[in-house]
């Protein structure tokens, strides 16, 4: 499944659900998919009526075998693909996908290392896939997620992550927390990362995903806190 598959496959949109005010969860049916590992992504190709094509990469929230894929797409004003996916796309629409892609930012259930996940905004999507893979595998390695989002409304998979079993989840809200939230609100800091994540001496595998500036800052803090740079895997997307 790791080997890249360069073929474009036809997919059909099975469902669209608003997960946040500006973001949607899409499920696609792709008969030739063949499953994916937690953390992988796909390329999605849209063709306009005039033949113009746009390709974008999206992390996959679903894991394992099967021909149904779940994506969570955030609204980013890129002028073409994301407004289509967050506003216009409807059940039954056809899309083209290529994948599964990427064998580096992935978690294998046979890995005996403890796992620390740190996500910002929609960067939590591949980490959700890893949480799901961990829960489904029966793996007993410690799993710990630190998720920074603007608010609970704007956090992807808030309910699922709040009730996650077999994993430790810490939310850090940058604007406001849910009603009755007792914890400080604000941007992630090095101190919060230190308090809310597995210590370097437990030699966890660390996965960081989010906007560019977020990943840059968090990865730098992790190395300063004593994590081995070779065990800090990052995935970043455009924007701040």
């Amino acid at each position: 499944m790791v080997t890249a598959d360069p073929v474009w496959h036809e997919g059909t949109v099975l469902s669209t659900t608003y997960a946040t005010p500006g973001g949607r969860v899409l499920t696609l049916h792709v008969p030739e998919w063949g499953g994916n590992i937690a953390g992988q992504h796909l390329d999605l190709r849209l063709t306009a009526e005039d033949g113009y094509q746009a390709v974008r990469s999206y992390s996959i929230a679903s894991v394992g075998e099967g021909d149904t894929i779940e994506l969570a797409v955030d609204q980013i004003p890129d002028g073409e693909v994301s407004p289509y996916l967050t506003l216009d796309v409807m059940t039954g629409d056809q899309l083209e996908v290529r994948g599964p892609l990427g064998g580096w930012f992935v978690w294998h259930e046979t890995d005996p290392s403890p796992v620390q996940l740190i996500g910002g905004g929609s960067g939590v999507v591949p980490l959700v896939a890893m949480m799901r893979a961990h829960a489904a595998s029966g793996s007993t390695v410690p799993f710990n997620l630190l998720y920074s989002a603007r608010s609970d409304d704007e956090a992807f998979y808030y309910d699922e992550l709040s009730n996650a079993k077999g994993a430790d989840v810490t939310f850090r809200f940058t604007r406001r927390g849910p009603r009755g939230w007792q914890h400080p609100v604000g941007r992630l800091t090095k101190e919060v990362v230190q308090q809310a994540t597995l210590p370097p001496d437990s030699t966890p595998m660390v996965f960081v995903c989010g906007p560019n500036g977020f990943v840059e800052a968090v990865a730098t803090w992790l190395v300063e806190l004593g994590h081995d740079p070779a065990r800090v895997k990052t995935e970043r997307f455009g924007g701040n």
Partner: protein
């Protein structure tokens, strides 16, 4: 960090690290190239392509060293061919497919 095309006004917010190379490079190589290692001709740093810095638009992409940010290679697609400029690469280790 807004990357807008001055002619079309299209803002490119594609991924900007080497993980995003998996799909485009699958059109050229048989292996998962995010697991390939590249050596920077400028500073000698050896890195996985997954760990590089990438700028991408619909015409192609630029892959830069994660350490010194010099260009390792560029790929530009046109209708008749794909042009790969590898001047910044001292070597490329491709995993067996």
């Amino acid at each position: 960090m807004v990357d807008m095309d001055p002619h079309t006004g299209v803002v490119n917010v594609g991924r900007i690290d080497g993980n995003a190379l998996a799909g485009p490079l699958s059109e050229i190589f048989r292996s998962d190239m995010t697991l390939a290692s590249g050596e920077c001709r400028s500073c000698g740093h050896l890195m996985l392509l997954a760990d590089t810095v990438v700028e991408m638009d619909d015409a192609g992409f630029i892959v830069m060293c994660s350490s010194c940010k010099h260009v390792l290679f560029t790929v530009v697609k046109s209708e008749k061919r794909t042009w790969i400029d590898v001047q910044g690469l001292a070597g490329l280790g491709i995993p067996s497919a």
